[in-house]
Every structure is written in C-alpha cells, then in structure tokens.
C-alpha cells in the first residue's frame, strides 16, 4: 500500500490547471515555474519515504 505514495507526485505533476498561473511570483519566477521546480525535490522525498518503508 505504501506504493500509493508514489502516485501523489505524479498527480501533482499532471494537474496542469492547478499550476498554469503567473501569480504569486517567487524570486521573480511565475508560479508555473517555481511550482514545477519545487515539485522535483518533493517527488524525490515521496520516493524516499516509500524506500524507508520497504520491508516493513
């Protein structure tokens, strides 16, 4: 069941209407860009969480 955690970053990545926006901007980056760039390390954290749960 822990594998369901893997679906979350995938869903966030393809939920385009959620992030196809300019505002709010962060360090000059429109939301579209900082959202996607932040999601990359976040997806890694989700995979790490599943890895920690392996064999339990």
């Amino acid at each position: 069941m822990k594998y369901l955690l893997l679906i979350i970053p995938c869903a966030l990545a393809v939920a385009v209407p959620l992030y196809n926006l300019m505002e709010p901007r962060l360090f000059g980056f429109p939301l579209f860009y900082w959202y996607l760039l932040t999601l990359i390390p976040l997806s890694s954290l989700f995979i790490y969480a599943v890895y920690k749960g392996e064999g339990r």
Binding site: Y33, L37, L39, S44, I47, Y51
Partner: protein, 516 residues
C-alpha cells in the same frame, strides 16, 4: 575553415575532448572483467553501485540533444517546452515501482535485454523480435540526434566548412567514440559520465547565478521573454500559441506528451542497458530517489531559453539560442568549457545507445533467427561489431539525410517505444496477457501510432480525440488501442505457452545470492 575559430574556446574544448577519449580507452581496465563476454562488455558485469549508476544513468538519460532541444522549444514557444519537467517527475516513481522487479528477474535468468525477458516470460519469439525491432528502430535516429547536439556546439566554436569538410570534426569525434566503445564496452561511458556530469553541474550552477545577475534577475528575464512571446503571437494574428503559460488548447497535449514520454523512456534499449548494469535492486531504488537531481538541472537549463530572450539573442534556428547565449555572456574559455560539456554529453548516451542496440540485435535477432548455436565469445564479438555498424549508420544519417527527418523519426521513435510497454511492464506483475495478444496489440499500436503521425500536417505529435475536441499525444492513443487489442485477444485465445520465470524470480535476491 578555421578563419573564424574562437581559439580560447576551441582549445579548452579540444583539451576536455582529449581527456575523455583517454578515459574511454583506460576504462577497459576498470573493474576488470572478461570483455569477451556480453554481460561484461554490454552490461559492465552488473557491478555498478549506487554512485556509478547515478552518474551513468543520469548521463545516459539526459542527453546532449535534450540539453539543446528543450531550451530550444522553450525559446521558441515558451511554457510548452516545460513538458520535460512533469515528464521527468513521472519517470522516477515509475522506475521505483517497476525496475527493481525487472532487475531481479533479468539477474536471475541472465537476461541482457527486454527481448530476452519477453521470450522467457511469454515463450513467443515473434514477440521477442517485435520488441527488439522496435528498440533498434527507435534508437537509430536518437543516436543521430546526439550528433546534431554535438555539431551545434562545434559550429558555435566558429568552425565552418563546405560540403563533407563541414562534418570533419564530428566524424573524427565519432570514430574515436566508436573505437573506445568497441574496446571497453559499457565501462567507457560509465567512466566518461563522471567527467560529463560534473562539467554539466558546474556550467549550470554558473549559468543560473551569473546570467541572471547580469540580466537584472529572474523577474526581468521572465518579463523580457513574456514580451517577446506577446509580440510573436500578435504578429502571427493569434495563430501561434506561445507564452509564459500554456494556452488552453496546449494543456491536453502538454499532459499527454509528458505521460507518453515517461512511459516510453525506460523502454528504450539504452535506458534498459544503463539500469540493468546496476549491482542490485536497491541500487535502482536509491537511484530513483537521487536521479531527480538531474531533472532539476534540466529545468534550470530549460530556463536558458528565456535567458536568451532577455539577452537579446535572435536566432533563426532556436537550437542555436543556448550556444549563442553562452558566447555572449561568458568569457571564451568558459564558453568552450560549456560546449565541451554538451559535446561529451552526446558521447555518453551515444555509446550506451549503440551498446543497447548491439546487445538487442545480437541476443534477440541474430541468435534466435540466424545462429542459435552462437557461443558467448562469438556473441560478444558480434555485439562489438554491431555497435560499430550502428554508429556508422547514425553518422551516415547525419551526413546525408536532412536533420529534420532525423527529428521526425525521433518523435516517431517515442510513439513506437511505448508499444512494447504492455509486454514488458505488465508482464512484471501478471502473466494474464498472452504472447500472441501482446504481439497483435503491438502491431495495432505501431500501425495506428505511425498512421496518426502521418497526417496531412506532416508529423504532428498530437491528435484530436474524436468528438471531444481534446488533442492527445499520438503515442498514448496508440497505446490505448494496443492494450485493448491485447486484452481482448488474451481473453479469447488460450494462454498456455511456457513461462520460464517464477513469481519468486521477481523479488529482491537475498544478500548471499548477490555474491554469486
């Protein structure tokens, strides 16, 4: 020919190129193994731990072509080019979920390619042939495109020439690459990947700090790019969709292209070769956690398309945008360094691709259909020879075929590659599908995918789904048909072919088993 050569850049470039060429030959002695065995030559003896795999797979998947092409699309039309980011977010959960099982079964059964696995699982050598054929077909144009990436930076160094002389440096580079791949096998790109990836990280960090500092910050960069797109859209009378955000009609293609590309990626022979060379299932899991670092780099490289606009770079061919940006923003020697990083970035995937295609040809076409009695030594010899032939073929494509054709073939390659997804990935979890059903599904998917791309608008990557007004990536539409055909036929035809794998073969090997 060299009257306009940028000497400082060219010397730095040549120096790094020389360094990796030496490494490529030295690699034969690294983690010593019998290079007359296909497992050793073609998979590095499956001895690459988490670190080496990280460099190798990263260097293998994020190719020079990607580094040139993605910012080129971003430069040309903006947000749509960023499909590469959701695409690279999707691939790692998928890798984590599926490839530890794939690694385990290939390790236990001595499989080297996807075709080997499919034959073992479904006992159908025509399905094996289909999988092998698809992989080789899709890999050839991909190798050719690596050369395009390399040629772009050689041009940017100021090298010019007429006719065949224009391709002289490229030809030379490729001959060297072919020779050390022949000698060292997968060890060569694995060792070169260290240099390449460190160089890419250095230039990206420099670029994302120095360029915005000189152009007035990221806010100014985005605003400048946004203004360029607004002008472009206005001039086209609203026909061109370009901008910092996706136009409504771009959203469905954006999503489906990201999903389709993600499903296709690990089906390519070079991805399989890179991943199967890992030393354990856990090495793959750790890499699924750590490889997104490369996606972050790709995201930052993509932004260079916008930086080029802010720096006032105007080029007819968007693929020249990033090289021109470097020449304008950096001292010559550093521009030479970045170009070397990109060119070396082409060598790693080109080497792995030719090895992947060679392994596939030897194991899944030559052995079953031409010479079943082939010895392991002859097998390795044939694969080495094939790796040369594949590279010469790619070089000929670049020398004599218009680049646009290679680009179109590469787009088609993605569509073709997804068609083996059901056979390979579904097979890891269930044997419900039958070989004949999967084969028919593959054929249907290949025909539909190619047919959809063969529209009156030349090769369009997306197609409108009938009646919905939504456009979707051709590859996904074809995959749906593929799965439907496979499911129906598996339901009605008996599924009694021999399966040489057992459920336990897909689980992680115990520690003592790994020592063998």
């Amino acid at each position: 020919m060299i009257d306009h050569l940028n000497w400082p850049a060219a010397i730095v470039f040549a120096g790094f190129f020389l360094l990796v060429s030496v490494l490529g030959f030295v690699a034969a002695h690294w983690k010593r193994g019998d290079l007359d065995d296909l497992h050793e030559w073609g998979l590095g003896g499956r001895r690459f731990g988490a670190w080496i795999s990280w460099f190798l797979i990263g260097g293998d998947l994020y190719t020079a072509y990607t580094v040139i092409a993605v910012p080129a699309v971003v430069y040309a039309i903006g947000a749509y080019g960023f499909f590469a980011i959701p695409y690279t977010i999707l691939i790692y959960p998928l890798l984590y979920f599926t490839f530890p099982r794939f690694w385990a079964v290939t390790h236990r059964k001595g499989y080297v390619t996807a075709g080997d696995y499919v034959l073992g699982r479904y006992g159908n050598k025509w399905l094996e042939l289909a999988v092998a054929f698809t992989g080789i077909l899709a890999t050839m144009p991909y190798i050719a495109l690596q050369l395009v990436g390399m040629e772009k930076v050689i041009e940017a160094l100021g090298f010019e020439g007429q006719g065949v002389a224009r391709h002289l440096p490229l030809t030379l580079a490729f001959i060297i690459l072919a020779l050390y791949t022949y000698k060292s096998g997968l060890r060569a790109p694995a060792m070169i990947a260290f240099v390449k990836d460190i160089m890419i990280y250095v230039f990206v960090v420099a670029a994302v700090i120095i360029v915005p500092a000189r152009l007035g910050g990221y806010g100014a960069i985005f605003d400048a790019a946004g203004a360029v797109f607004e002008t472009k859209v206005a001039q086209s009378g609203g026909k061109v969709a370009a901008g910092l955000l996706l136009a409504p009609q771009q959203i469905a293609p954006f999503i489906t292209l990201a999903i389709g590309s993600a499903l296709a990626l690990f089906m390519y022979p070079h991805s399989m070769t890179g991943i199967l060379s890992a030393s354990s299932s856990n090495t793959i899991r750790k890499n699924a956690i750590a490889l997104p670092a490369y996606s972050l780099v790709l995201g930052l490289i993509s932004l260079m398309g916008y930086m080029a606009h802010a720096a006032g770079i105007k080029v007819a061919n968007p693929q020249d945008a990033v090289p021109q940006l470097f020449l304008k923003m950096f001292p010559s020697w550093f521009a030479g360094f970045t170009f070397a990083a990109i060119a070396i970035g082409a060598l790693v995937p080109a080497a792995v691709m030719s090895i992947g295609a060679a392994n596939t040809f030897t194991r899944n076409i030559w052995k079953p259909f031409v010479d079943p009695e082939i010895t392991p030594k002859q097998e390795a010899g044939l694969a080495k020879l094939m790796s040369l032939i594949v590279k010469v073929g790619a070089l000929i494509v670049i020398l004599f075929v218009p680049t646009q054709f290679a680009l179109d073939l590469q787009l088609l390659g993605g569509i073709w590659m997804i068609q083996i997804f059901p056979a390979v990935i579904f097979g890891l979890f269930t044997r419900w599908f039958s070989g004949i059903g999967l084969l028919a599904g593959w054929a249907g998917g290949m025909i539909l995918g190619t047919g959809l791309a063969w529209g009156p608008m030349a090769w369009t990557p997306v197609h409108t789904i009938f009646g919905t007004g939504l456009a979707a990536y051709n590859g996904l539409l074809a995959l749906s048909a593929n799965i439907a055909i496979a499911a129906v036929l598996s339901l009605i035809l008996p599924n009694d072919a021999h399966d040489e794998t057992k459920p336990a073969d897909y689980l992680d090997p115990a520690a003592d088993e790994l020592m063998v």
